[in-house]
Each structure stands twice: as C-alpha cells, then as structure tokens.
Amino acid sequence: MSKVVRKTFLLFLFALFFQSHLSFGQRSKSKAYIADLKAITDIMVYDVTSPVAAARYYAYSTLASYEILTLQENEKYPSFFAIFQRPLKDPLPQRVQLKNEAAAYRYALLFSASKLLPSGKKLIPRIESLKQELEEKEMLFIEQMAQTVIEYANQDGFLQLNNLKRYTPKRGPAFWQPTKPAYMAPVEPNWNSLTPFFLKSADQFLTKPPVQYDLNPASDFYKLLLEVKEVTDENDEEKNEIAAFWDCNPYAISQIGHLEFGLKKISPGGHWMGIAGIAALKARLNLNKTIFTHTLLALVLHDAFIACWDEKYRSDRVRPETVINRHLDKRWNPLLQTPPFPEYVSGHSVVSSASAEILTLIFGPNFSFRDTTEKEFGLKTRSYKSFNQAAEEACISRLYGGIHYRDAIDEGVEQGKKVASFIIAKTKAHFPY
C-alpha cells in the first residue's frame, strides 16, 4: 500500500469513527440538556410551583441557554429578543469564543434556573460539575447572559403581582367559589398583568364567552353540567386512566384526620416539556435544535397560560363540583381534585393544543411516541400516534376528570391553536422550522 493510500484509508477510518462519534456525542449532549431540564422540573415539583409560574420559569431559563446559542450560531438561530413584543433594554454581554458549547448551554440553563427557582440552589451540584468543563471567562460570559435574561424577566410584571389587589370570590351562583378540600385562594388572579413574549396583549385571542349559567334542565349549561356528572358516574376504566394520566396537579391535597399533606406531580407545562424531550431523543435532534425546540415550546407555554388566565378571571366561572354539590348531589366528587382557580377556559386544553402545534411543526404530523413522563408518579406509559392525538386526549381528560365543562375544553383548544399559530406565523421568517 502506498503511503498516500494508507494515509487516505486512515483518514477515512478516522472520519468514519469521528462521524459516528459525533452523532453519538450529539445525542448524549441533547440527553444531558434534557436531563438538566428534568432536574429543573423536579425542583418545581418539590417547590409546588403553580402551572403558570412553572411555564414562566421554563421560558426564562431555556431562553438564557438559547441566547448563548444564538451568539454562536446566529445565522441559523437568531435571537428571540428581536421578535419579542417587549424590547431588551440592557445590552447583551460581549460574546466570548466558547470551547465547549454544550457545557456552556447547559451552564446557562442551570445557572438561570438556579437563580429563578425558590429551591434553585438544589441545582448547584450539577452546576459545579459543569464548571470543570468551562473556563473562567466563559462562565463569566454565561452568567452575564443569564443575569441579563433574569433582569429582563424581572421587568415582565411578575414582581409587581403582589401590589395588585388579591381576589375575593364574587357572590352569585355563576361565579367561581373555592373548592374542597383546602378551599385555597385562587392561583395568580393577576397573571394577565404579565407581558407576554409574542402576544400583543393577554386578551389578543379572546375566546367565546362561556355558555351562560342556567339551571333550567333544557339549557345548554345544564346539559354541559350533566355531561360532567355522567362521565364521572360512568366510571369507565379507560377514561379514568386518561384523566389520571393528564391530571398534572402540582399539589393534590390529601387529608387523613389531622394529617393533611400534598401529593405532588408535574404541571401541564412540565408534562409537555417532558414530551418534547422524549421526541427530541427519539428524533435524534442535535443539541442546537433540542435547545431551540424546548425554548420555543416554553415561550409558547408562557404566552398560552397568560391568555388562558386572562379569560379565567374574566369569565370567573364556577367549577362543576360546586354546582353539582349545590344542586344535584351534595356528596359528589370529581375524579380529579378540582384545581384552585376559575373553570373557563381549560388551561390544560389551551397549553396542550398550543404545544401540539409547535411540536408537530418541528417533528411532523405523524410522529409517534411513548409518553413516559408520568411513570415516576405511578402511572402507566401511554403511546400516541401524534402530538395532536396526545393533545386531544389531554384536553378531553379534563372532562373525564370532572373538573371542566366541554365548552371550556373546546374553546381552550381554539385559544391554544390561535396562540400557537400566531407565534408560528410571527417567527416563521426567523427560524428553521
């Protein structure tokens, strides 16, 4: 063998090895990023983070990592700040050449989450181990970026929420009332005062008003009410399983005598972030696209929740269990514990349909997957042919669970789709869908 041939062959072998190694490396990098996100999810579960707050934390921490990515790959992944409704006031930190990009993105994600989340310090071991892979000036740069994003987050109205008047349940049969067992004050009644990322305002995509409260047996409302009761009373195993799978209640309260305790699960947003991770790994997305996918999904979740919460406290509709207990059956309980906020529209429907739109765009309409996100909470894995199928199930699960009327689901789906479509249209020119 001539020298040249031998050299070429070696080069070929090396290239072969390098290529497979690269793809193996990309997958493990994505995996590590997704594992970090799961660690963040776990802390939110521990802290009992409300669904709306969880979406906000996901959004700003993934955004921090994405904006580092943007400075490396600006062509393909332009900055989100360019298309957000609210401009970034502070300058972005001076770009530093990164040696270990994957570590840098993860560092940005974890560092910003550690600053944002109440129990963020639980991420410190992960952050510490990443530090070995980064240089001092890289870390400084990433931390500056995270700080810029957090500063931006601090201007979204969140810190002003506690200045606003707290909610007092209105008098009147059609209005929401606190529900058993804990009669908690409703979650974040002023969430619509936060600035969305893309939406012009919280009420940009107003839903239809809810079907009017009416206890006349011939009325539409009464029919909706009966449907909720009948589904629960039917006690169908499959429906019960679906309801439990998509419960996503961060804090279901259990009471045994003086012992009262919360059983914690991921939030609806957490569930969909989990699905995004499953899909990214199955589709073998490279790290950049993995980051992009999660960031976009988180941003959309946050906007979707703002739109949904705006409607919840506008219509302020009473939950099915309240009406059923008052008028049909004093002892009736829904299958799921009614979450502590007004009924219309269904939050899970808004965010599930919005999430499915985004994920379909990225992974395609017939992307089947096995959803293992609820396994740790003792629930069986479920398989879906598409994101839309999963979303449809998630939405209808609220009826099966006895916590929503059907119109809140239907209108929630509509609102979610509108929010997602708007954001897709708005971002289409910028991003590699």
């Binding site: 989340l117 707290r166 804990a182 009669y183 009471q255 005598g257 305790f261 914690k264």
Partner: protein, 1093 residues
C-alpha cells in the same frame, strides 16, 4: 421536707354530722407539688401505645388521644382510689391504702377491660346502693360489638360485675367520655354519652353531614327510667350528627336555674354545643346565641367559677402553641376563603386557642382566655379548674402533647410526598411507614394560679411541673386527705404521674373545708348538688358536685374549698332536687364535714333586681356593611381599616329641643338624617343630595355653621380601604344648609386620603369656624403617615386647604379647653402612636403634648371622650384602646413594632408587624404569607423549619431593617386620664374595660347619683383569621363614685347589654328623658331608655 401535720378527730354531732378536724396547719412558704415516684406510690400504670399497620393514626383518627383517670372511693373507706384506662391494654384499678400509697387490685376486682380501645371513665352510683360504679367508654378501629361501653357495678367488696347491657347503656358509638347527671330531676342519674366519628368531614361535607343522624358517631342521651336506661337523644333535642367529634363534656348549671345544663366540646369544624336545660326533659343548644367565638379544635372542657361571682364559667382547650417556633411550624396561613366557607355553611366563629368563657350572667359569655393569660398551651387535652393553693380562687392545670407532629407544615408540604413516593407497597403500608418518620414532641404541662382580677399566672416551673410528656386524662383529688388537691395524670408511653400537693405543708393561709353530701334512696352521693361557702371575708365560693371533668376523666369525692386565711361563715347546699339547706354552726376549720340531706325547702329563685329598667328599641336605619376584606388590598395588614361605621352625630337641627340624628354609612348606602318626633320616634329627612352620595364610604361627619347664616352646615368625611380603586370616592363632601336641605358645595378643595374625623375649630380665632380633618392613612399605604388637613374658612363657607403633618394614622380627635385658659386645644388620637395635643399660638401650630402628658403611651387608640369625671371642674379624658384580651402584651420594654419599608423594591409598602414572644421579638406573619408578599424571600425560606425561629433582623438584610421606617406600640389598655392642673395622669379602669377593643364611649350619670359613670362598647367583627372574631364585649358599665374611682357592674346587674361591633354611643335628649343611642356595624341602631329602679 414534708410534715405529717394533721390530727384527725371524729366527732358525732347532734345532726349526725361527721367532723374531721385538723388542728394544726403548718404555715410555710411557697406552693409546690412533688412528683411521687411509681415505686413509692405503687402506681406503675403506663398507657403503652403500640403503632401497628392495623392500629395507628391513619386507621383510627384518635389514636394519640390517650387514656383517662378516675378518682373515687370504691370501698367507702374514706380514701379515694384510682382507675386508669389503657387504650390497648388492661385498664387498672388502684386501691388507696393511705399515705399516698396504692395497691393494684385489678385482677381481684374481676374487671376485665383488656379488649378493645378504652377512652374515658365516668363514675356514679348507678344502682343507688351507696357504692360507686364505673363506666368505661370504648372506641377505636373495632367492630360495633367490640366497642360497646362497659358498666362495672360495685359488689361492695371491691369486686365488680359488668352489666352495661342489662342497664341498656352498652353504647356502641365511638365514645370519648360519658357524664351521669339527673337532667329531668326525677332523682335518678341519667347518662350522656359523648361520641365521635372516625371518618373525617371537611367543611363542605360537614354542612351536609350536620343535618344527618349517625348511630356510630352521634352523641346520645339516655334517660334512667328506674328500670334501665332508654335512648332519648332526639326527643330531648340532643344533636347526634356524624360530625360531632366530641372530646369533652361537662355538666354545669350555667344559668343558675337549678337545672343542669351541659357543654360539649367538638373537634374540627363542628362547633361546640351549649345545651341549656328547658326543665321539661329537653335541651336547647344556645351556643351561637351565647358565645361570640369558640375554640376551633375544642378538646377537654371544665366548668368553675373563676371570679367568685356565683356564675359558672367554662374553659375549652385547643392547640395553639405558646412559643414562636411551634406557632410558625404548625399554624396554617390565614385562609379567608376557608373561614368564610365555614361560616357560610352555618358553622360558628371559631379560633384555634384555649378559651375561657366568662359567664356574664345574662345569657352571654365572653372569652377572656387571652386576657387571663391561658390561651396558648399547645396541643392540649385536660383542663382542670380547682383551687390548688387553697386561697379561695380556682386555679388551672392543663395536660398536653400529641403523639406525632402531624400538622407540621414541612411534613405536609415535603416529607409525606417524598416518603410516599419512595416507599414501595400498597398505600396503607406506605402511609404507615411514612408516619414512623414524623417527629414526636413531648410537652410540658401548664399550671396556672388564679391571681384574682380575671388573670392567671403561669407557675408551671415553680410548682414542680417542669417534666415533659404526652399527657391526656387527668384529675384532681385529695388522695391523702390532708386538705389540698393532688393531681393525677395518665401519660402515653410513660408511667402515670401523681403529684402530691404540698400546699398544706408549705403554704401560709392555706385553709380549707371539705364537704361530703349524702342522701337516701336515690343518687346517694347527691350528684348535681351545688354548695356555696360564704366566708368570713364576704367571699362566696361555689362548687358543683359533678363527676365528669377535663378530658376522659372524673372525680367523685367530698367537695373541696380552699379558704385562704378566711373562715366559713355559713354553707348553703342546693341539693340536686333544688331544695336548700343552710349550715351556720359546727362547721370545721380545716376539716371535713359530711352533711346528710334534711331540707325539703325549695330554693327560692334568686331574683336580684337589676340596677336599671332598660327598654330596648331599634331605629329603622340599618347600617349595611359592604363586607370588604382589607387584607386583599394589603395582605400584611395587622388589622382592617374598614368596618368603622356607623358614626352617629346628634344635632338639634330644627331646634325643637329634641336631638336629631345623622348616621354615616358604608359604600353602597346613603347617609341618613333622622328627625326626632315628640313621641320619641324618628322620621327620615328628605335629603336628595345625601341620598345621591351612596358611592362614598363615610367615616365621620361634623355639623357646624360654616357660612355664618345661623344654621348648621354639614361636612362628611370619606374613607374606605377594602373597596377597589377608591379614587373619587375618597373625596370629602361639604353641604351647605339651604332651608333644611343639604346642598353640596362645589368649592371644597379635593383630597384623596382615607379620612377619619372632622372637628370644627376656629384655630386662627378669626371668628369663623374652620375645620380639622384627620387622615387615617392613604389607601394601600398603611401604616405610612399622611398629612391631616386644616380647612381654613373665609367666613362664607369657602375653604383653603392647609396640610398639617403632625399626626399619623388619625382615628379620632377632640377639641376642648384642657388647661382653662379659655383657648381650646386639639387632642388627636391614632393607632401605633401616642395621643397628641396641639394648639395654635402666634400664627403657628404648637405641639403641647409634653405640657399635658407626662408619658407617651403609644397605643392602637380608637376613640376619646372628654368630661369632668372626678368633679374637680376640669376636663378629664377616657380613651378607647385595643384592649388586653389578645396575644400581644406590649410594654415599654417589649413594644410591638411595625416596620414598613418597601423591602422588595417594587414600589409598595410591606408592613411587617413584630411582637415579643418569651422575650424575643418575632414577625407575626407566617412564612407563606411573607414570601407571598416579598417574593425574593422565597429562595431564602423554602422550608418552614428554616423560617420558624427567624427574627426580622435575620429575615431581611440588616440595613433594610435598620433603615426601615417603623412605628411602635407599647400600651393597649383602655384607660382614663385625670386632669390635674392641666396635666393628664393615667388612671386605671377595672380590667373588664379591656376584654375587647373600645370604639365608643359614653360618659353619663346613668344611675343619677350625681356621679359620672362610663359605658364602653366596641368589638371588631373581622380580623386576620389567626386573631379571629373579637366580639367579647357586651358593653362594659363602670359605675363612678365622683372621685375618679370606678366599679365594674356586670351586664346582668345593670341589665344593660349590647351585642355586635359598636361604633357609636350617644346620649340624646328626648322629650322627657335622655336616651342612649347605639350605632352597630352592619346592624340596626338601638335606642335604650335607662331608668333607675
């Protein structure tokens, strides 16, 4: 050293009265109890609790409630024997062999009480043979047949036969305790069985369950027919619903009609029951009518006359810990929705703390637990009211402790979820294993000595009760017959405790008398009788013979009276059949007397005539409150600013000599002017402009001639706090009087403060009336001060606004010439500040506070009235404050402080209220409440433990605390100030003046003896949930002697009582007499005609 220092003589008197005489009482110092070691006493009993997967707190709700004790003479040898129930093992009987030594005789008594879950013990001679029988209650996670209560009939030889079934009282309910009493006065003993549920109902379910009847959980009343017992529960009007979690019952005659009433304490949302005997075999539960607020998780209960006024008071125990750390770990954050849900569903106002319900003698009780100092003893079980130091006043012993800290907030939020996810297996097994990791905190019992004057002093340490344990049932008994009461306590997983009382050995003035009652035929021990001892010092000591006390425990032995250094003048026995027997001679001093029933004379109903003949009428101008919640505007407020009306202004508008009335109103309702007619009724004046002002919330008003046209014009102050976006609704209004029609003036300068008071004052002495308008606060900015206003009049009713910054948080003001120089001074009150007096001299406002007040008493001052109280010709002051019936107890050394910086830099004031607990100042606010408001602290305090012992300096960065604006309060007493040559000297009012906050004062010679009397009223209906409803006052009447001394006369003596939250008291001139008008929040005003009898 313990002295055996009494010699007993037995004498047989002509009336076959047995005397036990103690010749020697050795006076030594101090008051002490000595814990007798089990080896010495022979009492080795221990309530051993074994948690198993089958038997634990999850499978049985009341697993940690412990056992009971009973003290009674089982063999009629004159020595009191003891019985203990064990939850899971054999209950045990101990024979008293004298000298505080006991012999365990369970085996030979034939009592086999091993099986099932045993709770309370009741004693009574059920079969009328003169020998005590034993009734043991059963509950637990057992089948119906295995939880039937047991009746052990005394066979007169220390053996017993179980005959519950035969007598018809083998009740299968989940029983906590039982009480024998003769409710129908047929001579034999009937039985109340106190049951509880083992399933839990929360508010919503409970409202439904309240209407149901439940055989397993419902209480039961049995009538003794002489031929067995029959269930008369429903017939007698006894509630028997599934949500009665009965933990305590005490039989007592609360209304002194000679018929036994009884009080049932219920755990959880179901309120307690106060059953008043209708004297016809039925009862009426009058709890809601008679008590404004009760313990929430009521446990044990006892009755006793704590102030020797002849009226039986009640104590109920709850779970409020005394120290800051446990409060922070165990308290749930204020949930207004949950609380309102409870009340909306028909449950009563309840707060988590011990309550001492003082019997007002007029069908009302006032909870004075906090004033008395006994409200917070942690998770408590048995209250025992008895005279432990023989001074003639009833003292208090409390047992406490709960098996595991189930309601620790960290357990709820973090621990259980983590454990349950980690443990494998079915849910029962998971929960049981998780349970094993929950901490146990043994507690120290509490021992309080009654200091008189409605207050108690914690003497736990000095008296020898410093040990910690989980203690449940307990009873007092003079086990060694030495004339003082021992305490016996049933403990969980520790030997029962016997505390020997050393009062007789060590205390001076520790005299006593013990009285045993006997009668023939039925109810030989005369249960249900009441003995009154009249002492040489004029004291009246009342004790009832009723065996069931405290928690799951009972005592039946001669009634014990401590006498202090007094002797017995006479002794009156009201037998259970209401006949009366009085003894004046042959009464022992420091001894025992047995009285045999002789009397057949029926008790004359004591009908003491009230001081006044009082006629109550209402005025048809109801005040309608908007029921706002200020805490939704500013979540860290210490209390609400709203609920300040109605204020009433009296004014003779048409100058017919009859006072007319102006009522301020809340938002949504127009203020009203009512003209008095000659027949004393009122007719509403047609005032279209006032009628159109209903969107304002009036806080006060003033009538004065502003434009010099000889008639009275009207200024109305606007305020309000809880209503959203008050804006324009905060502007005050000025109306000129145009031929009797009040017409709004356009020229009034605007203001946007929450105002509180308006006082016409020609401050510049230019001949026209200007106006001082006090500012309480700016909306959402409590407690930041905002300037008050002077409206300077041009003589035509046009005002120029001058802002004066001298006063903060103004609540009331008053103009008078306090120093007799013919120039009036302005006195201004506020909360978190001291009263200030200002004058206007040489064209400037001058602070005269120091000239008039020698001490700056910073209080939560509400209101002031001025009059010459001591008849010396100058003006004195009476000032209403928040009162001392609360947790806070500030002093100059340990003030309450309110820090009000913008701690999270979001442009919003966060008031943080701190007060001292056991010598250290902590924030009132709980972790979740604080981190909900100051978001940045969420990271600092994730667990409740991490926050639980933090002071404000540790919570916030030091410079923030240091630089924070703050105000403080060191004095909460309602008080009067004597004017001594232009100097105000603080004078105390009787302690009753402080049982609630005072918001209205009337100074008037009610009894027409030529001396001014004082009537105080107030209350606060809505508070932070942890503080609870404060409607403990029914009006406090203080009779004056003209020299500045006041005597409290209870409501029953004066017949003067007002319910609700009073905001105005005005004496008005009617045609031939003066009347008292009372303005009550969210209610109709009442008008009271007081006549001397």
């Amino acid at each position: 050293m313990v002295f055996k220092n009494h010699l007993f003589f037995i004498m047989c008197g002509p009336k076959s009265i047995l005397f036990l005489f103690v010749l020697l009482a050795f006076p030594l110092r101090g008051q002490k109890f000595e814990l007798i070691a089990p080896k010495k006493s022979g009492i080795t009993f221990e309530n051993t609790l074994r948690e198993t997967p089958k038997e634990n707190i999850i499978t049985y709700e009341y697993f940690y409630n412990g056992g009971g004790v009973a003290a009674g003479d089982l063999n009629n040898d004159g020595l009191t024997d003891l019985i203990f129930t064990s939850n899971q093992d054999q209950s045990r009987i101990y024979l008293n062999t004298g000298q505080l030594q006991f012999e365990e005789i369970t085996a030979r008594t034939g009592i086999n009480n091993q099986n099932g879950w045993k709770t309370g013990i009741a004693l009574a001679d059920v079969n009328n043979d003169g020998w005590l029988d034993i009734y043991i209650s059963h509950s637990g996670n057992y089948s119906k047949n295995n939880r039937r209560n047991k009746l052990y009939i005394n066979q007169k030889d220390l053996t017993f036969k179980e005959e519950a079934k035969k007598y018809g009282i083998d009740d299968f309910g989940y029983t906590s305790q039982a009480a024998f009493f003769d409710y129908d006065k047929d001579g034999d003993l009937d039985l109340f069985v106190l049951n509880h549920n083992t399933k839990l109902f929360r508010n919503f379910d409970a409202a439904y369950a309240k209407t149901q009847q439940d055989d397993d959980a419902g209480d039961r009343l049995y009538e003794n027919t002489g031929n067995g017992f029959v269930d008369v529960t429903l017939k007698a009007g006894i509630l028997s619903n599934p949500i009665g979690y009965g933990l305590g019952v005490v039989v007592t005659d609360t209304n002194n009609d000679g018929w036994p009433d009884f009080y049932v304490s219920n755990d959880y949302v179901e309120e307690d029951y106060l059953y008043i005997n209708n004297q016809d075999g039925t009862f009426s539960n009058l709890l809601k009518e008679q008590m404004s607020c009760i313990s929430n998780f009521s446990m044990g209960v006892d009755a006793g006359d704590i102030n020797n006024d002849g009226l039986l008071d009640l104590i109920t125990l709850d779970m409020l810990p005394q120290d800051n750390k446990r409060q922070k770990l165990l308290y749930a954050p204020d949930n207004f929705e949950l609380y309102n849900n409870m009340v909306d569903n028909g449950f009563h106002h309840q707060s988590m703390r011990n309550m001492l319900q003082l019997n007002n003698g007029n069908g009302t009780f006032s909870d004075i637990g906090q004033l008395a100092g006994i409200s917070s003893t942690d998770w408590s079980w048995a209250p025992l009211l008895a005279d432990f130091n023989n001074d003639g006043l009833i003292d208090l012993y409390i047992t406490n402790g709960y098996g595991r800290d189930m309601i620790n907030r960290d357990v709820m939020k973090f621990y259980i979820d983590e454990r349950v996810k980690f443990i494998e297996g079915n849910s029962d097994k998971k929960m049981f294993e998780a349970l094993q990791g929950i901490q146990s905190t043994p507690l120290q019992n509490y021992f309080y000595l009654n200091k008189g004057n409605l207050t108690f002093e914690d003497k736990t340490q000095e008296a020898g009760f410093q040990g910690t344990d989980f203690s449940h049932g307990a009873i007092y008994s003079d086990l060694d017959n030495d004339g003082d009461l021992e305490i016996v306590v049933n403990c969980m997983n520790a030997p029962a405790k016997v505390f020997k009382n050393l009062s007789r050995e060590t205390a001076s003035a520790s005299n006593y008398i013990r009285v045993k009652l006997t009668q023939e035929n039925k109810n030989i021990f005369a249960i249900g009788s009441k003995i009154t001892v009249f002492t040489s010092g004029g004291e009246k000591l009342v004790r009832e013979l009723t065996p069931t006390h405290g928690f799951q425990s009972s005592v039946l032995e001669p009634l014990h009276f401590g006498l202090g250094n007094q002797k017995v003048d006479s002794l009156q026995i009201q037998w259970n059949d209401r006949t009366v027997q009085t003894l004046k001679e042959g009464l022992p001093f420091n001894g025992f007397i047995e009285v045999q029933k002789e009397s057949t004379r029926l008790a004359k109903r004591e009908t003491s005539k009230p001081l006044f003949s009082v006629q109550y009428d209402t005025i048809n101008q109801p005040h309608k409150e908007l029921l706002v919640n200020d805490f939704k505007v500013q979540p860290l407020l210490p209390y609400m600013i709203s609920y300040h009306g109605p204020k009433i202004k009296k004014v003779d508008l048409n100058q017919d000599g009859l006072d007319d009335l102006f009522f301020t109103s809340s938002e949504g309702q127009a203020p009203a002017l009512l003209l008095q007619k000659t027949d004393g009724t009122f007719v509403k004046s047609d005032q279209p402009h006032l009628e159109a002002s209903s969107y304002y919330e009036d806080t006060n008003a003033a009538f004065f001639d502003a434009d010099g046209d000889g008639d009275l014009d009207l200024y109305v102050v606007s305020g309000g706090y809880g209503a959203p976006d008050a804006g324009i609704a905060l502007e005050d209004r000025f109306y000129t009087n145009a031929n009797g029609v009040f017409t709004p003036s356009e020229t009034l300068p605007k203001d946007t403060q929450v105002g509180s008071v308006a006082v016409p004052w020609d401050f510049d002495q230019d001949g026209d009336l200007d106006l001082f308008v006090g500012t309480r606060v700016k909306q959402s900015e409590f407690p930041k001060g905002a300037p008050s206003l002077i409206l300077s009049n041009d003589g035509q009713g046009n005002f120029r606004q001058i802002k004066i910054p001298y006063f903060d948080r103004v609540t009331d003001a008053l103009l008078a010439d306090f120093d007799g120089d013919q120039i009036k001074e302005l006195l201004v009150l506020g909360d978190w500040t001291h009263p200030k007096i200002f004058g206007f001299r040489n064209r400037a406002f001058v602070d005269l506070t120091e000239t008039f007040f020698s001490e700056n008493l910073s209080g939560w001052w509400n209101t002031v009235k001025s009059d010459d109280i001591d008849g010396d010709g100058d003006l004195d002051l009476v000032m209403g404050n928040w009162g001392t019936n609360n947790q806070f107890k500030p002093s100059a050394e340990q003030p309450m402080e309110l820090f009000y910086g913008d701690f999270d830099n979001n442009g919003y004031i966060d008031p943080i209220w701190c007060y001292y607990i056991k010598g250290v100042s902590y924030p009132f606010v709980l972790k979740d409440e604080l981190t909900d408001q100051i978001v940045s602290l969420r990271k600092k305090f994730v667990t409740y433990e991490s926050y639980s012992d933090m002071t404000l300096e540790e919570i916030l960065p030091e410079p923030q605390v240091k630089n924070s604006p703050k105000c403080s309060t060191d004095f909460l007493e309602t008080t009067w100030f004597e004017n001594k040559n232009g100097k105000f000297t603080r004078r105390k009012l009787p302690i009753e003046a402080n049982i609630s906050s005072v918001h209205a004062i009337s100074i008037h010679d009610y009894d027409q003896d030529g001396n001014k009397d004082i009537f105080l009223a107030g209350n606060v209906p809505y508070n932070r949930v942890r503080i609870g409803r404060r409607e403990t006052s029914f009006g406090v009447y203080l009779s004056g002697d003209g020299k500045g001394n006041f005597t409290y006369l209870p409501n029953w003596k004066t017949d003067l009582a007002v319910h609700g939250s009073v905001r105005a008291l005005e004496i008005i001139q009617a045609k031939e007499q003066q009347k008292l008008v009372v303005g009550i929040n969210n209610s109709k005003p009442i008008i009271i005609t007081v006549k001397n009898e």
